[in-house]
């Protein structure tokens, strides 16, 4: 225990960047955003996030915070320094998750109630397109070259591949029940889709022209945990693709998967109902939102160990960290 603590401290010190970054956590029930210093892991402040804040992301320069205020049917925009609300963006009804293109211009938003993906221009604050997708769109991913947006539909159980050129769906891939989240590798050659009720993560190879092909499915098992509670949700992948981290919801664990063999190599015990994940810049730490224990867990990525938990607001849902 002592050595663990010491090594964690060392890791903390070694990882300390010159400038502290800030993690923003959306608290679904508390209707707030908690701001955490990623150097000291102290809560800096908590501010009003609108009604039922869930999906949360940031402009590439780290100045603007975008929050899906699901019950307000808008995306709220906040200044990441002053925490003032700057403006709101039209999102279509009940926005839950979204993804921002690498340039920061277009937000691709899943509208659960309307079977649509809404494309919102963050500059002109107008809706650029609406793409009909499957029933209950949820997960959103964008390819690194920004040519493809992937949406997962929870009741249709598909990953829809939308071309950002003409906003048409070009490919549909069936996955297991209730797909929640999609994530490309940084080199864009693979896509991972988590199925919460199916209990699996689907793995697809992505050809150069963006065409997906199913490689296989990753399943989970933890001794002493009912298989029903192994519900994969959030996914993050290290830059080099060597490790894939999957939040397992009510199993209260994050699975660590080898990027090469796609085998699960470890399960990291975190807080209760772990939902979404975010790396700190440089990927020294991985943060997890734990909806039923009202905290975030800090995972040391190199050591693959949980080193700290930080209490935040009520029912934390999503998390994003300012870039360096």
């Amino acid at each position: 225990m002592k050595t663990l603590l010491a090594s964690s401290l060392l890791a903390l010190m070694a990882a300390t960047p010159a400038l502290a970054n800030k993690a923003f956590v959306s608290n679904e029930r508390g209707n707030t955003i908690t701001v955490v210093d990623t150097e000291t892991w102290e809560v800096l402040t908590e501010f009003d996030g609108g009604n039922r804040p869930r999906g949360i992301t940031m402009s590439p320069d780290g100045t603007k915070l975008y929050v899906c205020a699901s019950d307000d049917n808008i995306v709220r925009v906040f200044d990441t320094e002053t925490y003032e609300e700057l403006e709101s963006l039209p999102s279509g009804p009940d926005p839950e998750l979204f993804v921002l293109d690498p340039e920061g211009q277009y937000l691709y938003i899943a509208n659960e109630d309307d079977n649509l993906v809404t494309v919102t221009d963050t500059g002109t604050r107008t809706i650029k397109a609406e793409v009909p997708v499957g029933v209950e769109p949820e997960g959103m991913a964008i390819s690194p070259d920004a040519k493809w947006v992937v949406n997962t539909s929870e009741t249709t159980n598909m990953a829809h591949f939308i071309s950002t050129e003409d906003y048409q769906i070009k490919h549909n891939v069936l996955v297991d029940q209730r797909p929640r989240y999609a994530q490309y590798t940084d080199d864009g050659t693979r896509l991972f889709v988590s199925s919460e009720i199916g209990g699996t993560v689907s793995v697809m190879d992505i050809a150069e022209d963006g065409t997906p092909s199913m490689v296989g499915k990753i399943a989970f098992e933890v001794p002493g945990v009912l298989p029903e509670w192994l519900q994969p949700v959030g996914i993050k992948i290290t830059q080099d693709g060597s490790r894939i981290f999957v939040a397992l919801g009510p199993a209260n664990r994050v699975a660590v998967i080898d990027g090469e063999s796609l085998e699960v190599i470890d399960y990291i015990l975190v807080g209760q109902r772990v939902w979404q994940l975010a790396f700190t810049p440089g990927q020294d730490f991985l943060l997890t939102t734990n909806g039923n224990s009202n905290d975030i867990t800090v995972i040391d990525v190199a050591a693959e160990k949980a080193i700290k938990s930080v209490p935040v607001g009520q029912q934390p849902w999503g998390v994003v960290v300012t870039p360096n």
Partner: protein, 395 residues
């Protein structure tokens, strides 16, 4: 560590890529047999004209949206009939070529219709009949049960009571056969989970109208007298399938105790205020489409047609036998807004599912309760388990 990354075989990969599915038209029907019933005690329980059919409309929308990516279309006919006209209505559907039929009927009608439909190779999905016997000695190979049995509902209540340590019950049952069947389910649940029924009484159905002006005056005098002198109990469990007295029990007991079962905390498949596990989206879709709140019967019909849709999507077939076989296979699983996948018991065709415990306004709890374990699935702690059923049609 067991190898848990499963690379796909070539055949499976083709199925995984949705673009390669072939065009299919899926024609189904909801056949609702409207038996004459007295009006309910509460106006909130008045039956909407489109009961069940509304669920079919939403299912066609949902299945159709998914089908649009695969070249599959869904069309579900809605037919209601009196018990006397039920057979003719079924024959009409069969003559029309429909072989996937969701039936909303009482047990005896359901069995007769299932046997007739089986002669034409049709698959029947039971959306409402709760009798245990339909899942045991009277099971049919071509009949899948979406509706939970009385036994599942009673077990859901009993598990919650045990979790609360309310292990002494006062059981009050109605006098009609359906009420007695439900009371049997509660007696069985009590034995199964170690609950003691310390007192049992029957509240006789003397007939007559359910509704009278200022009837509460009489109720307020009668029920305390009816319930007084009962042996010590933690909770009153009501078995009133006919819906003629249980609704009056809360607040009128001689000893102040919670009521569960047919009033108070009720076991249901669904209610319109349920929001967990993304259900809000089901509710808003349903309300936008139909202009009213969803009933359990609507959900059951929706779920029956989603079972068909899921089998069509995954197995790429509209053949009733192949849909049945896929639904009963280990490959079948379906998300149904219950927090875990629902699957079928392949020994009697019953859908495994969590049961909501509903107080009339919100979800109070969901059974199976924590700590009730089973070697196959915690869901099999609800209702007839494999060794308990007399069903042989699935062997």
């Amino acid at each position: 560590m067991r190898r848990i990354f499963a690379p796909l075989s070539a055949a499976l990969m083709c199925m995984g890529l949705a673009g390669q599915a072939s065009a299919l038209d899926v024609r189904a029907a909801v056949l609702r047999i409207d038996s004459p019933r007295l009006l309910p005690i509460s106006r909130y329980d008045l039956t909407p004209d489109d009961l069940g059919f509304a669920g079919a409309m939403l299912a066609d929308d949902d299945n159709g949206t998914t089908g649009s990516f695969l070249g599959h279309t869904y069309e579900t006919a809605q037919v209601s009939a009196s018990p006397e006209d039920a057979d003719a209505a079924l024959d009409g559907l069969l003559a029309d070529g429909v072989r996937l039929i969701v039936v909303m009927a009482e047990g005896p009608d359901l069995l007769r219709l299932t046997d007739r439909a089986a002669q034409e190779g049709a698959l029947v999905l039971n959306a409402t009949a709760p009798e245990a016997e339909l899942r045991s000695g009277e099971c049919r190979a071509s009949l899948l049960h979406i509706a939970p049995s009385n036994l599942m509902l009673a077990d859901a209540v009993a598990q919650f009571a045990v979790w609360k340590k309310w292990d002494e019950w006062f059981l009050v049952s109605g006098s009609n056969p359906a009420d007695q069947a439900l009371a049997d389910a509660y007696r069985r649940a009590a034995r199964k989970f170690g609950v003691e029924i310390t007192e049992e009484r029957e509240f006789e159905d003397t007939g007559g109208s359910r509704r009278t002006d200022s009837g509460h005056v009489l109720v307020q005098r009668q029920l305390p007298a009816f319930t007084q002198g009962a042996k010590r109990h933690d909770v009153l469990v009501a078995a009133d399938d006919t819906d003629y007295f249980a609704r009056y029990l809360p607040y009128h007991l001689a000893t102040p105790r919670p009521v569960m079962g047919s009033a108070g905390l009720r076991p249901v498949t669904f209610h319109a205020a349920h929001e967990a596990w993304g259900t809000t989206q089901f509710q808003t879709r349903f309300e936008d489409l139909t202009g009213r709140y969803a009933r359990p019967e609507d959900y059951n019909v929706w779920l029956a047609l989603r079972v068909i849709g899921e089998a069509v999507t995954r197995a790429n077939t509209n053949d009733p036998q192949e849909i049945r076989d896929y639904a009963l296979s280990g490959a079948f699983e379906l998300a149904a807004f219950k927090g875990q996948k629902v699957t079928f018991r392949d020994w009697n065709g019953q859908l495994r599912q969590p049961i909501l415990l509903y107080d009339g306004m919100i979800t109070v709890s969901v059974s199976p309760q924590e700590g009730f374990l089973h070697q196959t699935s915690p869901l099999d702690t609800l209702g007839l388990d494999r060794p308990e059923t007399d069903c042989t049609a699935f062997n």
